[in-house]
């Protein structure tokens, strides 16, 4: 990794990439705090502070609730995996090397791999695999867009620096005095507080129910083809508002529609993603417009990418037969645990304390950040470090284009998950 610069004293790190949301901002300054932990000094956000500034705690590994050495915990985990008929590797809050290690262990042990947030990802993936996408990436949107439509997601909570970095940056590649951007919130009750600044022009709100966004976009797509749409209410919005939205889309030089699949938390939400992409694709026959799907927290973009390039399939792959067997419904880890189709859960969560294992009586091995709150005592518990805090690593950003190096920022006894998993595999 790049050697760490020390400018304003020891352990002052510049250009640090942050793994605590999918945007992976890499311009943070991080230094030591008075309590021996880390402090975000520059370019932070609530998520970065919550992640980086956690106290360093280094609990002992445990087997059945009893403190043991790391070697004993590894041996116990290996024993459980060896005895398991169908282990499920879930959670998977990790980085590229962590997932590489999980893949070989899952292959060796005939297990299933699935990320805790795959259910959200599949709202996108189902569309990807049935009709496809036309998308953009963060730097492209930052410099080029003149219209942002925030479709049904509370982007400011999900990515606290999205507006600052992408919507309202001071400068643009293509003009010394770049034009202001229009920001349209499509959906009820979305936090608009961050849609401000030099570059933000009109801010509009179209307060529809989130589960009717698809209906509205389908109607706009039809209107654009000069089909007749009857009635004065379209998806819960006045017809005139929808016509105005279409006119603004048509007038945009480079429109960007932002969505986050986790925000589409209603049945058949993939059809909303489908409507977004169908609308965007059609617009591009005469103008430029692109989608930008965000979210991707807890390493989910990295983990899905590694699974896809190594196995040939996205997540929800089983190696029980020795081959990669892909089935996004059958190998849904949450479903398998609830249905007791597995006899062992290996839960990996190395970023935030939000990624707690499910409350299940399926025997569980937890490889996790010490900040998890475990409702039940796992059979084996091995605390692991956080990539980009306790050890170096690599993370793939939510747009699936850029990946960033993560740095080791402090000394800790917490091992990288990849090392623990490799030790378990060696002990099989």
């Amino acid at each position: 990794m790049e050697s760490e610069k020390s400018r304003s004293g020891a352990n002052h790190h510049e250009n640090v990439a942050c793994p605590f949301c999918g945007m992976a901002c890499d311009d943070l300054d991080i230094g030591p705090s008075s309590n021996g932990s880390l402090k975000v000094l520059k370019n932070g956000c609530a998520k970065a502070s919550a992640g980086f500034e956690r106290a360093l705690i280094e609990p002992s590994p445990q087997v059945d609730g009893m403190d043991v050495s790391l070697d004993e915990a590894v041996a116990a985990a290996a024993e459980l995996i060896r005895e398991s008929r169908l282990p499920v590797f879930g959670g998977l809050g990790t980085d590229v090397d962590g997932m590489r290690a999980i893949m070989t262990l899952a292959e060796r042990s005939g297990g299933v791999v699935d990320h805790a947030l795959s259910g959200d990802a599949y709202r996108n993936l189902r569309v990807y695999q049935s009709s496809g996408y036309l998308t953009t990436s963060l730097t492209e949107a930052r410099n080029r867009a003149d219209l942002f439509i925030i479709a049904g997601c509370d982007i400011n909570k999900i990515h606290p620096r999205f507006f600052e970095r992408i919507v309202s940056p001071e400068r643009s590649m293509f003009s010394e005095s770049p034009p202001k951007r229009t920001v349209i919130f499509l959906g009820k009750g979305l936090d608009q507080s961050a849609a401000k600044g030099e570059r933000v022009g009109d801010v509009l709100t179209l307060p529809c129910d989130v589960n009717r966004i698809g209906e509205i976009l389908d109607a706009m797509r039809a209107m654009d083809k000069e089909a007749t749409i009857s009635g004065n209410d379209i998806g819960g919005l006045p017809r005139a508002a929808v016509e105005d939205l279409l006119a603004r889309c048509k007038a945009a030089t480079y429109g960007v529609m932002v969505w986050v699949p986790s925000s589409f938390d209603f049945p058949n939400a993939d059809l909303t993603v489908q409507a977004i992409n169908a609308f965007i694709k059609d617009l591009n026959s005469s103008q430029r417009f692109a989608g930008l799907s965000l979210g991707g927290s807890e390493g989910s973009t990295s983990v899905n990418a590694v699974c896809t390039w190594q196995s040939g399939f996205p997540l929800r792959v089983s190696f029980a037969s020795g081959k990669a067997d892909y089935d996004p419904s059958r190998y849904d880890a949450g479903r398998m645990i609830a249905a007791k189709e597995t006899d062992l859960l290996i839960w990996l969560a190395s970023y935030t304390e939000a990624l707690n294992p499910p409350d299940t009586d399926v025997p569980t091995i937890v490889l996790g950040t010490p900040h998890l709150s475990l409702k039940r005592k796992p059979k084996v518990y091995i605390p692991v470090g956080t990539p980009g805090v306790d050890h170096a690593g690599t993370i793939v950003r939510v747009d699936s284009v850029v990946s960033l190096p993560l740095r080791k920022l402090r000394e800790s006894k917490l091992p990288p998950a990849a090392d623990v998993i490799a030790s378990i595999e060696a002990a099989l």
Binding site: Y128, M173, R288, F319
Partner: protein, 554 residues
Amino acid sequence: MLIKLTGGKIYDPANGVDGEIRDIFIEDGRIVSPSPDAKIAHEYPVHGRVVMAGGIDPHSHIGGGKVTIARTLMPEDHIGHEMAATDITRPATGRAIPSTLDAGYRYAEMGYTAAFEPAMLPSNARQTHLEMGDTPIIDKGGFVMLGSDDYFLRQLAGKADFSAIKDYIAWTMHAAQALAVKVVNPGGISAFKFNQRKLDLDEKHTFYGVTPRDIILTLARGMKELGVIHPIHIHGCNLGVPGGVETTLATINGAEGLPIHLTHIQFHSYGTEGDMKFSSGAARVAEAVNTNKNISIDIGQVMFGQTCTISGDSMRQFVTTRSADPKKWVVMDIECDAGCGVIPFKYRDKSFVNALQWAIGLELFLLVNDPWRIFLTTDHPNGGPFTCYPHLIRLLMDKTFRQEMMQTINQDALKYSTLGTLDREYTLYEIAIMTRAGPARSLGLVDRGHLGVGACADITVYDDNPDREAMFAKPELLFKNGELIVRNGKIVKVVTGATHVARPSFDRSIERSLKSYFDDFNTVRMENFRLSDDEIINNGRGSLIIQPTRARVA
């Protein structure tokens, strides 16, 4: 440990050896000339077998974001092609867009020891190397894409000092850990973002005011003056366009004698004659290549069947979305840097257009005289997966077989091609040039692609089977760095190949200007944009080979 391959027929064009019976000695991963009394630790009798250096694929999309987009898009491409783990190999999934593991295994089983990813976006270089790092056995490397990125285009538009442009090219090669530089639809990927739908060789980009010709000449001269061995690798304007042959000829004639490599030239050799307004321009392109010694090409041969096209050329790929089969596709604008388009496609032998594409590729192979300037590719997976190479080699070496195949395709297509009149059959020596010695020389891989003393012991041994498809599909032996990897077409050992890079010199002070550029506009810091050596080496997961460059001029 001294290893001897005894009695093989050696095809080593780099050293002028054409089928002579010779012994080859290997020690410590290299080909050596031992003293007569040296003790042989292991002998492989290969009498009557054909011995060549390991195959080198100079243009194959094996890694990076767009390949993984294709893998995600097309699970149906993989279903039924999953292979179980063995004692030494991991589960691998094959077909048109194989998993990284499968790509490494299949290349090795086909006698290849290196493949180069030709479209590595600077902004996606890290992922490209991660994927290549998970591609076992073979060596690899990437060609970094320039020519639609804002920094380069603003340098050109602002008439920047030429040495600053060269500094930027060289800096990008270092930052992305590249072996060479590629330009894709020069300026066109950027122009598409400004809603231009085509960009001819002399057409101006609406924002920057520069033309593809300006971009090509700048990069061609830049590569030459930087001393990078592989010339600028050009995916030209107007890919797949009927009449594109005129652009290709203009590109060749406009190169001002500078070395250029025109990639997947088959897709750029279409005329507009006949009822379908689609005809072969292969004869004219081949004549231009034969005349202009500064030109090298690879073909991008079309093979019939299902594939998925993967390209940085978002402008042309967007047009192709109309023909997507199955009907789904992904197009992306990327980081004010580049773009991509991923579109499934089925080449049908009964389709007039597809059959003619097939014929045009073969015509080009057969009409270009100098095998040192033409390389065997399908532009994997765009014309078809690389696993088709043995079939393609047979088409080139066996006229009878070729004519049989011609009987099975759309017959009208043949009327617009000269293929039926071509009698040439490639020799083993010429195949060895086109698949080994030529790519190695062109890419500047000093100790690869040949079997002389000092060469890396990447060696393939084939049964001299008159069915050349069977012969090249399943080598008897493959050695990588002197270790036996494949026996009778099956992997017996898995190793990790190296990553080849080239590092032309540049003035470090360019980082001052780049630093503020990245801070102002990019979402990645310059310091993080650069890939360190350690990221590729990654505690022994990979290794780097720095290939030499010539001295930089000015």
